[in-house]
Each structure stands twice: as structure tokens, then as C-alpha cells.
């Protein structure tokens, strides 16, 4: 009995001793050594992963993806940990799409952190990480891809390259709060072989909303192709074209030239990224005469058949304004003044109207203020305040000189003529997150009768004797107005003799317009400078494709 009790006591003492040892060890690990162990655990087992939010997709009206996000990796390196930079550069260069010298430069920096790639496609990044180079790490990010490359690049804009890349230009910027989601945070504890043993969502990720535009990829492509052809023939400084539905204000195409690859925006100068359809301020020239006439028509001062004696030139205060070509005195109706784009005739109508009423009409058609399109970089143009009208102002304002407009302002204002007199804000976003946005209501600026009279008069521009008589589409009646405006020479402050803006704004079918197109060519260098020669044919080519494509019946 005593022996048993003795052994039990010994066993108890043994286990008690072991327990004391374990306790002491636990105290040591949890006390003095706790910091080092915690640090080691953090680096080896615990990772806080950023879950990048998928940026919303931008599609055209038919669901064609124009901008889409795909998972990618942001690759960084610690040059201090890379023992053989030359060998590493040799392996990394082809995968990163850089030269060996470029990679070697990065790896040779005296710093503990360099970016190897901001958003490398996942496949290439996976290959890089598979090399298991010490100090090379990857972090998940989203990469913005524009599958159609140059298509609507200036409209779509670009995003930044850093984490949760925010929109920098275009729609990517304007709709950034809609497109960008919220990145999440995930706490992952891994075991010794890297298998996650505990995953906790610290912060849930939320994807951005998709945006469906009113643009039509096929019409957009055609408009860009046509502008590209114009660029080859006339070598302008740049050009832009807008195609819109005048009934709703929906933009179907907004093209710019020169083209830019949205996937590689750095390849072109920053100016090429500008959406000239909204940011280009220019003197409209003769395309503005339609609004001079519309005001006078609406005020019942004239009718389409009202006759005017048109001399070769007219003097207003201290300024003498000539018609484009010398001609003997002639009698022209209002319709003929528009069709032949007579400067003298338009000024006479403007003088008949008076400066106050003319100024009111200019603002009623939306000139001098933003259209409400909501695109980044939109300019408002510039109109002369009534208080600053000089004696000769009515000698140049009615013919589109002395005021600045934007292409989208012109397209919007012409839409009011085309749709029966309602000025409606243009829009390019059709749906957000699958929800259709309400169409702008608009406001009446001229009566439907005045609008119909104007449409009928503008048909004459493309009829024999008009300034764009060579443009036609079989079975479709077109209407529109040419414009050829001198640009101000910044050196002299005078109108240039060599720099012009050629433009054409028109619509079809003339009796019941369902499609409108504006083409503005800035400084054509070769061939011709006239809107009827440079811009009107481009209008014809775009409309020739778009009208049957949209199923618009001739008329």
C-alpha cells in the first residue's frame, strides 16, 4: 500500500513538474517572446487581402462592351532582396512587356519598393509570381480594358493606374461614382503549406454599376471611319462628328479624329484625348444663319418667301461685309438666302430682327450655356452680352462670327429645328445598373410651324443651287446647313486667311427627321476649306449608313 501510494505520489509530482514546465513555456511564449511570434505569424500566416471592386462595364445601346474590367495583378519588388538583378531582369522582362534594361533599372534602385507593373494581366502576373523571385510580390487589382480600342476613346475617357483606379477623363471621370465600387478587405489565416484555414470578410466588396450608353457601336465606328478618311484627304488639325436622335436627344455617335487607343492613351499627346464634340469652341459661321432666320420667322418678321435685295456687300457701322463670291445685286427670298448662304442676306434679316430679339433667340437656343449632357470637359461657348454689342455687332453675329459655340450645342440647337421646336438636353447615358434613365423633358423654343418652315428651307441647301448640292442619299430627302468660318489668328488678332473651320449640320428625312448629324472639321489643310466640300460629304457618308441601319424609312 505504501509502495502504491509512493508511486502515485511520484507520478503526480512528475505530471505536476511537466505542467509547471508547460506553464513556464507558455508564459515565456506569451510574454517575452510574444512580440516576435506575433510578427512572424502576421507575415507567415495572416494576410489582409484587398478585394478589388469590379468597375462597372460600359456598353453601347446594344450591349456591346466598350469598357470592361478584368482581374489583374499589381507587381512590386524589393530590390534589396533580389540577389541577382541581371538574371531576374532577364526572366521578368518578357513577362512584363518591358526591356531588360528597363527592368534592370527598376531592380537597381536603392530602395526597398519599386513597381514592376501596375495592372499586369493575370496570366502574365501568374507566370511572374511562379518564378518565386524573392522580394517580388503581387496584389490583386482590376484592369480596365477597352476591347474596341479606339472606338469612342475620347468619350469613354481613361482611368488611373493606381489602386481602385479612378476615372481621369471622359465618362470614366463623369460617372466615376457610379462605375467605381468599393474595395473589400479579407483576413486570411493560412496554415504551414499556405492553405487558408480561416477566412473572414473584414469589409465586403461592392462592384460598380454597369452603364449602358445611347451610343451605337456600329454608327460610332462608321463615323470614326469617315472622319479618318476625311483626315487622310484634307489633313485637318482635328475633327469631330455627332450623330443623334433629334426626337429624344440621344447621342448615337460621338466621334473624334485623330483616333486614340484607349488601352494606350500615353501613345498620343494629351490633346488627342479631348472630346472635341463638347470641348471645341469655334465660331460657327454660316451654320448659325438658321437661328438668325428662325428668330425672324418666329417673330413673324419674315416668311420663307420674303424677298430681299442682296447687293454684293453691306456696310454695318464701320464694317463692310461681303458675300463669299462677288455678284451683282440680286433679289433672293429667305429660303434662297439660306440655301446660298448669303452673308448680306443673313445680316439684313438680323438687322430686321434687332439686337435685343436676336440676343434673346441666341440664348433661347442654348448658346452660351452647357447643354446638360454632363460630359467631362464640356465648354459652354461664348456669346456677346447685349450690353457689349457695338454698332457693328449685328454685322457679324447673324452670320456666326463673334460668338463661340461647341459642336454639341450646334447639334442640340439643330435638333430643336428637326423635332418641331423642342430644345431638349442631349444625353449619352441610357441606363445605369439596368435602370433606364428618364429622357430630358425639353422646352419649346419655336413653334412647330416655324420649325417645319425652317426644315423645308434647309432642304434647299442640298438641292441644286445649294451649297451642299452634291450630297444626296437615294430616296432620302436631306436638310442641313454648311458652314465655313475663318479662325482668329492668335498672332494678329484678325480673321485668318488660311485657317478655317468647315462644318455641316443636317438631318433626315427632311419632312420628319429621325436622325441628325453634325460634322466639324478644324483647319483642313489640303484640298478645300469649304463646309460643303469637306464636311457635307462626310455627313452624307455617315447618314447613308446610319439611316437604313436604323430602319429609318426614306422620306
Amino acid at each position: 500500500m505504501a509502495v502504491v501510494q509512493h508511486r502515485v505520489g511520484m507520478l503526480f509530482a512528475l505530471f505536476f513538474g511537466l505542467l509547471l514546465l508547460a506553464g513556464a513555456r507558455a508564459l515565456y511564449l506569451g510574454g517575452p517572446h510574444a512580440g516576435a511570434l506575433r510578427r512572424a505569424a502576421r507575415t507567415q500566416q495572416l494576410t489582409n487581402e484587398i478585394v478589388p471592386a469590379e468597375r462597372g462595364t460600359i456598353t453601347d445601346r446594344n450591349g456591346v462592351a466598350l469598357a470592361i474590367s478584368e482581374p489583374a495583378q499589381e507587381l512590386t519588388a524589393d530590390p534589396y532582396l533580389i540577389k541577382q538583378p541581371l538574371a531576374a531582369a532577364r526572366e521578368l522582362a518578357p513577362l512584363l512587356g518591358l526591356s531588360q534594361a528597363q527592368v534592370l533599372t527598376k531592380l537597381g534602385e536603392h530602395t526597398g519598393f519599386v513597381y514592376l507593373a501596375h495592372a499586369l494581366p493575370y496570366g502574365a502576373a501568374h507566370q511572374v509570381l511562379a518564378l518565386k523571385l524573392p522580394g517580388v510580390q503581387g496584389a490583386p487589382v482590376m484592369r480596365r480594358v477597352y476591347p474596341r480600342q479606339t472606338l469612342a476613346a475620347q468619350v469613354l475617357g481613361i482611368v488611373g493606374s493606381e489602386h481602385e483606379g479612378a476615372g481621369r477623363m471622359g465618362l470614366e471621370y463623369s460617372l466615376n461614382s457610379t462605375l467605381a465600387g468599393h474595395a473589400g478587405l479579407r483576413r486570411v489565416v493560412s496554415d504551414a503549406i499556405g492553405q487558408p484555414v480561416s477566412i473572414a470578410e473584414t469589409r465586403h466588396e461592392r462592384a460598380g454599376s454597369s452603364v449602358s450608353l445611347t451610343l451605337d457601336a456600329n454608327i460610332q465606328q462608321r463615323a470614326e471611319d469617315v472622319l479618318s478618311a476625311v483626315g487622310r484627304v484634307f489633313q485637318p488639325k482635328d475633327s469631330t462628328a455627332i450623330v443623334m436622335d433629334p426626337r429624344t436627344g440621344a447621342i448615337l455617335a460621338m466621334a473624334n479624329w485623330p483616333a486614340v487607343n484607349a488601352n494606350d492613351p500615353g501613345a498620343k499627346a494629351i490633346e488627342a484625348l479631348q472630346n472635341r464634340a463638347v470641348s471645341f469652341n469655334y465660331e460657327p459661321g454660316s451654320t448659325f444663319k438658321a437661328f438668325t432666320v428662325s428668330g425672324a420667322l418666329q417673330e413673324k418678321l419674315i416668311t420663307p418667301e420674303t424677298g430681299f435685295e442682296i447687293p454684293d456687300q453691306i456696310r454695318v457701322a464701320d464694317r463692310t461685309i461681303h458675300d463669299d463670291t462677288e455678284h451683282p445685286g440680286e433679289s433672293l427670298t429667305t429660303s434662297q438666302i439660306l440655301a446660298q448662304s448669303s452673308n448680306v442676306g443673313a445680316i439684313k434679316i438680323g438687322l430686321l430682327e434687332g439686337r435685343e430679339k436676336f440676343n434673346t433667340w441666341v440664348h433661347d437656343f442654348g448658346f452660351g450655356s452647357h447643354t446638360g449632357l454632363g460630359l467631362q470637359g464640356e465648354e459652354s461657348g461664348a456669346t456677346l452680352p447685349l450690353s457689349r454689342y457695338s454698332g457693328s455687332s449685328m454685322g457679324n453675329l447673324p452670320i456666326g462670327q463673334g460668338e463661340l459655340v461647341t459642336p454639341i450645342q450646334m447639334a442640340t440647337a439643330y435638333s430643336a429645328i428637326a423635332n418641331g421646336g423642342i430644345l431638349r438636353a442631349p444625353h449619352i447615358v441610357g441606363q445605369i445598373g439596368g435602370r433606364r434613365l428618364p429622357e430630358p423633358a425639353g422646352r419649346r423654343v419655336i413653334s412647330s410651324t416655324t420649325a417645319a418652315e425652317l426644315r423645308n428651307m434647309l432642304k434647299g441647301v442640298l438641292a441644286p443651287g445649294g451649297t451642299a448640292s452634291e450630297v444626296s442619299i437615294p430616296n432620302y430627302h436631306l436638310a442641313g446647313k454648311t458652314g465655313t468660318a475663318s479662325k482668329i489668328d492668335p498672332q494678329t488678332g484678325e480673321y485668318s486667311k488660311s485657317a478655317y473651320v468647315a462644318s455641316f449640320v443636317g438631318f433626315a428625312p427632311a419632312s420628319d427627321p429621325k436622325l441628325l448629324c453634325a460634322v466639324i472639321i478644324d483647319e483642313p489643310q489640303t484640298g478645300s476649306i469649304y463646309g460643303g466640300v469637306v464636311a457635307a460629304p462626310a455627313f452624307g457618308q455617315i447618314m447613308e449608313f446610319a439611316l437604313p441601319y436604323l430602319g429609318i424609312a426614306p422620306g
Partner: protein, 272 residues
């Protein structure tokens, strides 16, 4: 060890020792108020209930060992299940990321493949041309056109069903090329639709329709409920307008059928 009292031997002739009595000690007086002596409360022990009895039996029996072992194994097993679950979550997340990548890649490819710059040359290579604006004719819609087109559609669908025994590959090829062309440009699409509509309206299944009929048959096969969907497709095709004039036929060999025939548009808005 102290022997028991009974075991102590008492020598004979000796009187048993008288136990010493402890001197009586009087308690010391303590200054202060007189204390009241409270009677002690009787200690009440709770009667063992059924639970206590059960626990008592458990921890005194062999069942307790089994229960303890089962609990320990259960805890370990649960831990393992949690670990496995987390690993599964990890795999699911990896799979999710892979699918997300794949989805994005497919979206990109879809957009690239439907680009006009790619499809237009393919369509041109297949002998298709873009119908000029003046070559597309529109007709007014009439209420009777829908039923007429639906009735006319019956024959080609049946014919196409029988033609499935023919070259399926050719049918697929024809479908793809026709679709490619239709996706390229509206005019071509309209022309392609016109071809289908023309067949629907006329109900002819001549030899020149091989490719076009194959197109329809493949669509009917893919769409499964051919009988119910075919009239709808026909309606859409006809509502998208257009007859193609001679020379603007989208599919080689169908020029004779398409040329000169008119198709009723069932959509009032499409009508001029």
C-alpha cells in the same frame, strides 16, 4: 500508528488510570455591550434530485468515459470540419476569381469578335455586300401581314426540319456566316432578315435556299421550341423591314428569291 484503545494492555493489579479532567476555565470578561446569542439555524441539505442522481451515476460509471471520449473526438472532428470548410471557402474564392477572370475575358473577346473591322471582311469574303441606302425599300405595315407571314412560315420550317438530315455542318456554317454578316451592319442585317422574310412570305423552298434554310433550321434546332419561336422570329424579321433589291442579296444563291419581292412590315413604326 496509534493502536486502538481496546488493544492497549492493562497490567494486572493496577487500577485503571483515571482520566484527567481539564480544569474549568471561565471565560474572560470582555468589555462592551452584552451580546445576544442567536440560536443557530439548522442546516438544510437539498435532497438529491433526478438530475443529480443521473450525473452521479454518469460520473461513477463507465458511460462517463465513453461520453468524455466522444466529446473530445467530436471537438477535434469539429475543428477539422471547420478547417476543411475554410479550405473549401478558399477554393471557392479561387474558383470565383478564376470565373471572374474568364467572364471578363469572354466579354472582351465578345466585343472584339463583333467589331465591324473583323466581321466586315468575313462577310465580304462570304460574298456579302452592304446594301446601298437607296436599295432598301420599306413598305407600309398592314394588320393582316402578321398572320400571312406566320402562315407562310410553316412550310419552310417543316422543310428545314426534313433538311436537317442533310449537311448539318453546312447549316451551322451558313448560320454563322449569316449571323456574322447580320451583326456587322444594319443594312446587311436587314437584307439577311429580308431573305428570311421573303421565304416566309412566299413559302418557297427552292434549291437556291439551301444555305438560308439551313440557317433557319439551325436556329430552330438551337431554339428548341421551334414551332412557338419561329413565328416570333419571323415577325421580328419582317418588322425589321426591308426587302433587298436584286444584287444586294446577302447569301449567295438567294438573289433570285430575294430580288424584286416585297415583304410586309408588321411594325407600324417601321413603315414609312
Amino acid at each position: 500508528m496509534t493502536p486502538p484503545v481496546s488493544a492497549v494492555a492493562v497490567p494486572a493489579g493496577r487500577a485503571a488510570p483515571v482520566p484527567r479532567r481539564a480544569p474549568v476555565r471561565h471565560p474572560r470578561r470582555v468589555s462592551g455591550p452584552t451580546r445576544t446569542v442567536r440560536p443557530a439555524k439548522p442546516t438544510v441539505l437539498a435532497a438529491p434530485g433526478p438530475v443529480v442522481a443521473l450525473l452521479d451515476r454518469l460520473i461513477h460509471g463507465r458511460l462517463w468515459i465513453g461520453l468524455l471520449a466522444f466529446s473530445l473526438i467530436g471537438i477535434v472532428a469539429m475543428q477539422l470540419v471547420v478547417l476543411e470548410l475554410n479550405t473549401g471557402i478558399g477554393h471557392t474564392l479561387t474558383r470565383e476569381a478564376a470565373l471572374q477572370r474568364e467572364n471578363a475575358q469572354l466579354g472582351i473577346e465578345d466585343s472584339m469578335y463583333s467589331a465591324e473591322s473583323r466581321v466586315a471582311p468575313l462577310a465580304a469574303a462570304a460574298g456579302m455586300t452592304l446594301a446601298p441606302a437607296g436599295a432598301v425599300h420599306f413598305v407600309q405595315a398592314a394588320p393582316a401581314d402578321v398572320s400571312r407571314a406566320a402562315a407562310a412560315l410553316a412550310a419552310p420550317v417543316q422543310a428545314s426540319a426534313s433538311s436537317q438530315t442533310g449537311s448539318t455542318e453546312a447549316a451551322v456554317g451558313a448560320t454563322e456566316s449569316t449571323r456574322a454578316a447580320a451583326g456587322t451592319t444594319g443594312s446587311t442585317e436587314a437584307a439577311a432578315n429580308a431573305t428570311e422574310s421573303t421565304r416566309a412570305a412566299t413559302g418557297t423552298t427552292g434549291p437556291t435556299e439551301a444555305a438560308a434554310t439551313a440557317t433557319q433550321s439551325t436556329e430552330a434546332t438551337a431554339g428548341s421550341p421551334a414551332a412557338s419561336e419561329a413565328p416570333a422570329a419571323s415577325t421580328q424579321a419582317s418588322s425589321e423591314t426591308a426587302t433587298s433589291s436584286a444584287g444586294a442579296s446577302p447569301v449567295p444563291g438567294t438573289t433570285g428569291q430575294a430580288g424584286g419581292s416585297e415583304v410586309s412590315s408588321t411594325s407600324p413604326s417601321a413603315g414609312g
